[in-house]
């Protein structure tokens, strides 16, 4: 594999990591006003992602930095082209980031409620825009012969990309609910499982339809064959089906693994459908940006490959260790039969 392809894969892994990890943080945020009975439950939900959400968000920052470094032309065209959408993402992410730290800093219900909704709207909004934005890369946007974006904000929206945005929101909510069934006990856990069951079918059906649609778009608009995009799409559909089955069988641990796998499959399907291009141009397909056009020099990629080789395993080790440290479930005391059930999940 040449270095250009390696870095394309690395960026896919970073986006997949971001969706897998921040996906359940977003999901928990979206469920925040609806799931809990009261303030205590709400704090338990926030503490379930409290130690990790900030580290999870870094996957996005590194994905952005890696795109800048490895594919400057891609970074330049995408970020200047998707201007208003990214501005929206920034607003959503900023209010969400401060909501975590600031919510607890006053006891008044109005203050708490303000930051609860800031977290929810920030989570859902960011998920929606990422779904629209990433699906646009495959669907195609107007790009001129200089490689600059030639459309406006509304060119990002069509049936497929809006469908993508809604799918990502719903999938993250489902993923977040299964996450909570693993991280909480007692009534809150039951409510999380109930929410997961209600979200399961709509999320699975929408996501499966989206995966199929993506393969069609790739063949139709990006000159791809059925293989290989169909592989991650099929994997995703199987994972979605299994997530529903496991959930209704009460095996929440396995259900969470499957919502995670489905989330990763969505990212993989999008990027496999995209390769070897990084942004499809439509209507002038010839103006599409490719991995080779957009890539940095061999030396720069080689240097960064060494850096990634050293740091990625270290990062994975200490982030994994964090999840181990905070493995204990949160919330009220679980009853004895519940503990047994939880242990078998």
């Amino acid at each position: 594999m040449d270095l250009e392809t390696l870095w394309f894969c690395l960026i896919v892994i970073l986006w997949a990591g971001y969706f897998l990890l921040e996906g359940f943080d977003f999901g928990v945020g979206m469920l925040l006003p609806f799931l809990p009975r009261g303030e205590e439950d709400r704090q338990t939900m926030l503490r379930a992602i409290g130690p990790v959400w900030d580290g999870n968000e870094v996957w996005l920052i590194v994905a952005g930095g890696a795109t800048f470094a490895a594919f400057p032309a891609w970074y330049a065209t995408m970020f200047s082209g998707f201007y208003v959408a990214l501005l929206l993402v920034l607003v959503f992410l900023i209010v969400r980031v401060v909501s975590f730290e600031w919510r607890s800093k006053s006891e008044t219900p109005g203050w708490r409620s303000l930051w609860t909704w800031a977290n929810t709207i920030g989570s859902a909004g960011a998920a929606l825009v990422w779904g629209v934005g990433l699906s646009c890369l495959v669907y195609g946007v107007p790009i001129d012969s200089d490689g600059d974006y030639a459309g406006d904000f509304w060119d990002l929206f069509n049936a497929y990309t809006v469908f993508a945005g809604v799918t990502v929101v719903l999938l993250f909510a489902f993923h977040g609910a299964t996450f909570l069934t693993l991280r909480t006990v007692g009534e809150l856990r039951d409510r999380a499982e109930h929410a997961a069951r209600r979200l399961a079918l709509p999320a699975a059906v929408l996501a499966a339809a989206f995966l199929v649609w993506t393969v069609v778009v790739a063949m139709d608009r990006n000159d791809k064959e059925l293989f290989p995009p169909v592989l991650p799409a099929a994997l995703g559909i199987v994972a979605l089906g299994l997530a529903v089955v496991f959930l209704f069988a009460g095996r929440t641990g396995r259900a969470f693994a499957m919502t995670g796998l489905a989330t990763v499959s969505v990212v993989a399907t999008l990027f496999v459908s995209l390769y070897p291009r990084v942004m499809v141009s439509n209507p002038d397909f010839a103006n599409s940006l490719t991995v080779d056009d957009a890539a940095s020099s061999h030396y720069a990629l080689a240097v960064m490959s060494v850096v990634a080789l050293i740091f990625v395993p270290v990062v994975l080790a200490y982030q994994g260790w964090t999840y181990y440290v905070f493995r204990r479930r949160l919330g009220g005391e679980a009853s004895e039969p519940e503990k047994a059930e939880v242990a078998s999940a």
């Binding site: 970074y75 330049a76 900023i94």
Partner: protein, 465 residues
């Protein structure tokens, strides 16, 4: 008369305001993380619970501040591509590498260990928990290093060649060991430590004024002075040495900073002047000067020659073609002086504080306690003026000698779009600033809770979020 506002003007305005705003939060994190780590270490080694209370008290202030630093940092990463796409494509090969490394090596470290520190009090051993705050501090410093490396390449592009209209990395070692980056990095972390020391000291002064928690905050004040006095003094020297480095690579920046139109040697340093800031008006109508000081500051020698703007302009025209290579002189002149004067004041306040502390009169000298509270603002003023000097002084270049700011913006982004983003960010940042200030003030005025007592955020996890 109408002034045509170009997209470049607006993009610059957005970059300047968002970057300066971001840098209101960065230095405190850079300095407070190691100070809190020191407090926790003293507790760990000696068992004195007062230090644990202080670590948690100032740790809370650090968290309020850290959140907004993270949030505004996102804008920094995105807006290179959003507003400056030609720049991004031109520099990505070189400039992108330290940014990506910053994410991998520093941001993951910071964010992960911050989470472990906040929530790990009852999950980790004391020793391991202490390690998390130190790793957080290392993460913040590493992050500062890589972003300074990126910025320093814009000031002094090394380790790269321009190939087919794009800068390409040729030596990562030259990039990382850029003499400009090393000195700028030292300067910035010392600014961070000074900022944090002055904040800790000012908060202690407030508690002395109220006669509350005097014994506890006397310990904090002592630590702040032990750090603040020498570091603020050393940083005056480091800053002045950075001036010598700049003289070597950016003679125009130094000449503009000193409003020095003609080449001089020996050169006097202008403390204050009226007029003399434009090409048509090169001689000030009034000024106060110290002989030889500019030669000393800019070249490290008594009679050193400093090139004037007129000479550098002629050289640059010969090298780069016709054009105006003089940055805004009044802005650079005054931002340098505000930086240096505020920095000197910080040292004087800290030194006087140390004197009063030794005489055991600190907590009773009320006028000085008010001074200590007001002095919290000085390192911020100094740091913001310093960045203004560094970035405005490089104009008209965005990358010194390689790419001009006027040619670096996004062609696909029009003025109305940037107006929209300026308005949105201004509203959002304004609101965040108000909330942040109110929260910082409230938490700085609280009595530090007893360990494990009511109101101890870290001891009872239910209150943590």
């Amino acid at each position: 008369m109408t002034i045509a506002v170009t997209t470049v003007d607006l993009a610059r305005l957005q970059f300047a305001t968002t970057s300066l705003y971001h840098f209101l939060f960065v230095p405190l994190t850079l300095g407070l993380a190691p100070l809190v780590a020191v407090m926790q270490t003293i507790w760990y080694r000696g068992g004195d619970e007062a230090w644990l209370r202080l670590a948690r008290f100032f740790g809370t202030l650090m968290l309020i501040n850290f959140a907004i630093g993270v949030a505004t940092g996102l804008v920094q990463e995105f807006q290179f591509g959003m507003n400056w796409s030609i720049y991004s494509e031109f520099v990505g090969d070189v400039f992108g590498a330290p940014l990506a490394i910053e994410g991998l090596a520093a941001f993951f470290l910071e964010s992960t260990f911050l989470g472990l520190w906040i929530f790990g009090w009852d999950r980790l051993s004391k020793r391991l928990h202490l390690a998390t705050i130190w790793l957080l501090a290392v993460g913040t410093w590493a992050s500062a290093f890589f972003i300074i490396v990126a910025n320093s390449w814009m000031q002094r592009p090394v380790g790269s060649d321009v190939v087919d209209g794009r800068a390409e990395l040729t030596s990562v070692w030259e990039l990382l060991s850029n003499r400009f980056a090393i000195w700028a990095f030292i300067h910035v972390v010392l600014v961070g430590l000074t900022t944090a020391a002055m904040l800790v000291f000012g908060v202690a002064c407030w508690h002395f004024l109220r006669g509350r928690n005097v014994e506890l905050f006397m310990k904090a004040a002592k630590l702040a002075l032990i750090v603040g006095v020498p570091i603020s003094a050393v940083n005056l020297g480091v800053g002045s040495h950075l001036g010598v480095v700049i003289t070597d690579y950016q003679p125009m920046k130094i000449a503009a900073t000193e409003a020095q139109w003609d080449t001089c040697g020996p050169c006097s340093f202008s403390l204050f002047q009226i007029g003399g800031f434009s090409e048509d008006d090169q001689t000030p109508s009034f000024d106060i000067e110290i002989p030889h000081l500019l030669s000393l500051l800019a070249t490290d020698s008594w009679n050193g020659e400093v090139q004037g703007m007129n000479d550098v302009q002629r050289e640059y025209e010969a090298e780069y073609g016709a054009g105006n290579y003089v940055p805004p002189v009044r802005t650079t002149y005054w931002s340098m002086r505000i930086m240096a004067y505020a920095g000197t004041l910080v040292f004087l306040v800290a030194a006087l504080g140390a004197f009063l502390y030794r005489r055991k009169r600190l907590e009773r000298t009320r006028w000085f306690l008010w001074t200590g509270i007001a002095a919290i603002s000085l390192p911020y003023i100094s740091a913001l003026a310093g960045w203004l000097l560094s970035e405005v002084g490089r104009q008209p270049w965005i990358v010194q000698g390689l790419l001009k700011t006027a040619n670096a913006n996004s062609p696909s982004v029009g003025t109305s779009t940037i107006w929209l983003s300026l308005a949105v960010l201004a509203l959002l940042y304004g609101a965040l600033a108000v909330v942040d200030f109110v929260l910082m003030r409230r938490y700085a005025r609280l009595d530090p809770p007893e360990v494990g007592g009511a109101g101890d955020e870290f001891a009872t996890p239910a209150v943590g979020y």
